[in-house]
């Protein structure tokens, strides 16, 4: 048997090294796992501080022995390249692994093993873990706010209708495709508004009127985000083009608009919309608070959209404008067919960023008394019968928001891939 040089692993004795190395790493992991999960200290025979450091030292030696360049073993090479390039990286890898292992048992037992989900009052939650009963009992409130329980089908139907209408573009006939933009920018929002107005608000067709103050929960998050997204994009496009216009009036109006809305915090805009704005309106003119809030967020986010889109417009080479002009295209034709399709493709990541921020800004409408998902949480956690469950609520809301935002960002990646034409 060859002599093993512990400091210099090489290809020649790769078998010995990889086996001994992985064994040592395994030992260190077993030590940490047994420590964390079973509360058994396997190394209690060692003196004080060495016990805690033992897995780290053993693991480091193990990883060091496994670090063989061009070993020919794919798995080993992959491992070395990604988490084991040098001693420092090996140390970081081990520390991260250990902290995950250490944190797992507590979070697992809190979230699942010791958690309660049965029962329908606070008394059911006697364990030390999370009280998912709270989420279960409040679930309808979190989804629909204060909307009367017996009418929840109206919200569901409205949403299904709106989503179905959104898919119309996929099934449109080829010769109608050129009206697609028109449909999504103008017709679709109007139809969606009517559907939501007549179904969720009610007041006609024998449906009972439900005022917007009672709306809330996740459905309100969706309604606000939906209208803001759908309106702020075309508006932002107009201001982006306006800012690059040759006509001074249009240019400076656009600059003023963008700089004004980017300069004020959203929360003050919302306050203004609900408190100050009605004062400027004539006495008999009524505009619903929710509508005002949607308009406020739309105007606010449009300024951000405009700047993102302007970035895309600026990145196009001048030759594209020249070519379009030389073919006899006027300003609008040039922008609609040549400039905007390319610019918008470039800014998909930036637009997705703005849209995600918008969705996550919707909880701010709580300040004007509209309680969407996070707002309902804030109400629920101060309910005297259910004090002390803020944590569960926020975890629940985070998961919901994460799912929504992740879906949106996935969709934006798909769009990017779909419109990629270079090479």
């Amino acid at each position: 048997m060859q002599t093993i040089n512990f400091l210099k692993p090489s290809r020649d004795n790769i078998k010995n090294y990889s086996i001994i190395g992985s064994f040592l790493v395994l030992v260190s992991l077993i030590d940490v796992i047994s420590n964390a999960f079973l509360k058994i200290n396997l190394t209690s025979f060692l003196p004080g501080s060495l016990t805690t450091l033992f897995p780290l030292i053993i693991g480091l030696i193990g990883l060091n022995m496994m670090r063989i360049d061009y070993s020919g073993n794919k798995t080993l090479d992959l491992l070395n390249k990604n988490i084991n390039t040098n001693n420092f990286n090996a140390l970081l890898t081990l520390l991260i692994l250990f902290s995950i292992i250490k944190a797992l048992p507590q979070s697992l037992s809190w979230m699942i093993l010791d958690a309660t989900i049965s029962g329908d009052s606070k008394d059911a939650c006697t364990g030390t873990g999370a009280c998912w009963t709270y989420i279960k009992v409040w679930f309808r409130r979190f989804m629909y706010g204060m909307y009367p329980n017996e009418f929840h089908w109206r919200i569901n139907t409205a949403f299904i209708l709106v989503i179905a209408l959104g898919f119309v573009g996929y099934f449109m006939k080829e010769n109608l495709k050129k009206y697609l933009a028109l449909y999504y920018v103008i017709i679709y929002p109007v139809i969606a508004y009517l559907v939501i107005y007549y179904l969720i608000s009610g007041g006609s067709f024998g449906l009972q009127w439900v005022e917007t103050g009672a709306w809330g929960g996740l459905s309100l998050t969706f309604i606000v985000s939906f209208f803001c997204l759908i309106f702020c994009f075309p508006l932002g496009m107009i201001f982006a083009l306006g800012r690059r216009s040759n006509l001074p009036a249009i240019k400076y109006i656009s600059i003023c608009y963008i700089e004004f809305w980017r300069g004020v915090p959203l929360i003050t805009v919302l306050f203004m919309s609900s408190v100050m704005f009605p004062m400027f309106l004539p006495e008999d003119f009524f505009m619903d608070k929710l509508v005002r809030v949607i308009i406020a967020i739309t105007l606010f986010e449009a300024a951000y959209c405009a700047e993102v889109i302007r970035g895309g417009l600026q990145s196009l080479p001048r030759g594209q404008y020249d070519a379009a002009k030389s073919l006899g295209m006027g300003y609008w034709k040039m922008h609609i067919f040549v400039i905007l399709p390319q610019a918008l493709k470039l800014v998909i990541p930036g637009i997705a960023n703005t849209f995600l921020a918008l969705v996550k800004d919707t909880p701010l409408i709580f300040v004007v008394g509209l309680a969407e998902l996070a707002g309902m949480l804030a109400l629920a956690k101060t309910n005297p019968k259910w004090l002390g469950f803020a944590m569960e609520g926020y975890i629940f809301a985070s998961i919901i928001f994460w799912i929504i935002c992740y879906a949106m960002s996935k969709y934006s990646y798909n769009l990017e891939a779909k419109y990629k034409t270079e090479r």
Binding site: D322, A323, K325, S326, G328, M329, Q342
Partner: protein, 244 residues
């Protein structure tokens, strides 16, 4: 003799304080082929960009096909539609297929039915021998193919005049020939052409007149044979001795 299709009189142009074009006088008759040459920075490109008003001139008159170009010109798009242009950097629309690049302007500017536009485009693409690439995107084509597509795209508007702004300068030597061939056959078909180029072989083969420019002025304007055989000014002689 017919009226000139392009007439430039006493034209001056500045970029800020810098005068790029000085007192330009030029008349081009229909079906004539003009080659413009000269050192870089002499204002050749700016001159032909002025002809379809991609650049604005400050003094003098430019009359294209009976229409004067000025700030008051309302239908500049109509004039541009009659003047095709081919650029040094091709400037194809990268988000559209080759066929769509060619049909876009005929459909939306000339209101041609889609089917007719596609037939026309395929016809033009066939003339420059890239009809087999019609469904690819510009990014998938070689430089020479892209430039030939750009020529076809301009021709799809059925222009009266074609402007070429150094069409072969951004190409590999091997690809220059295929583009020049396309231009030669276009010239033989009787198109009015103004070509900014350093390809003197092309000039000798097709040009009726050659213009030599330097420092924003037209130094010499002569029939092709005369231009190469006995150039008048010393500046032209120097330029020719360096380039030939």
């Amino acid at each position: 003799m017919s009226d000139p299709i392009i007439k430039i009189q006493n034209m001056n142009k500045w970029f800020g304080d810098f005068q790029v074009l000085k007192n330009i006088n030029l008349e081009v008759e229909a079906n004539k082929k003009i080659v413009v040459c000269g050192p870089s920075g002499s204002g050749k490109s700016t001159l032909i960009r002025c002809i379809n008003r991609l650049e604005e001139h400050q003094e003098g008159d430019i009359i294209v096909d009976g229409n004067e170009l000025s700030e008051k010109t309302k239908d500049i798009e109509k004039i541009r539609a009659e003047v095709g242009m081919v650029f040094q950097q091709f400037n194809l629309f990268p988000h559209l297929s080759i066929l769509d690049n060619c049909t876009l302007a005929p459909i939306w500017v000339k209101k041609m039915p889609k089917k007719e536009a596609q037939e026309l485009a395929l016809d033009q693409l066939k003339k420059v021998q890239i009809d087999d690439q019609a469904n690819k995107f510009p990014g998938q084509l070689s430089g020479g193919q892209q430039q030939r597509c750009a020529i076809a795209r301009a021709l799809c508007m059925q222009p009266k005049i074609m402007l070429f702004d150094e069409p072969t300068s951004a190409l590999d030597p091997e690809m220059i020939k295929e583009v020049l061939d396309a231009m030669v056959s276009l010239a033989k078909g009787g198109m009015t052409m103004i070509v900014v180029t350093h390809e003197m072989g092309f000039a000798k083969e097709v040009a009726d007149e050659v213009i030599f420019m330097d420092e924003g002025m037209i130094i010499e304007k002569a029939e092709t044979k005369e231009f190469f055989a006995k150039p008048k000014s010393d500046r032209t002689k120097l330029f020719l001795s360096q380039i030939l």
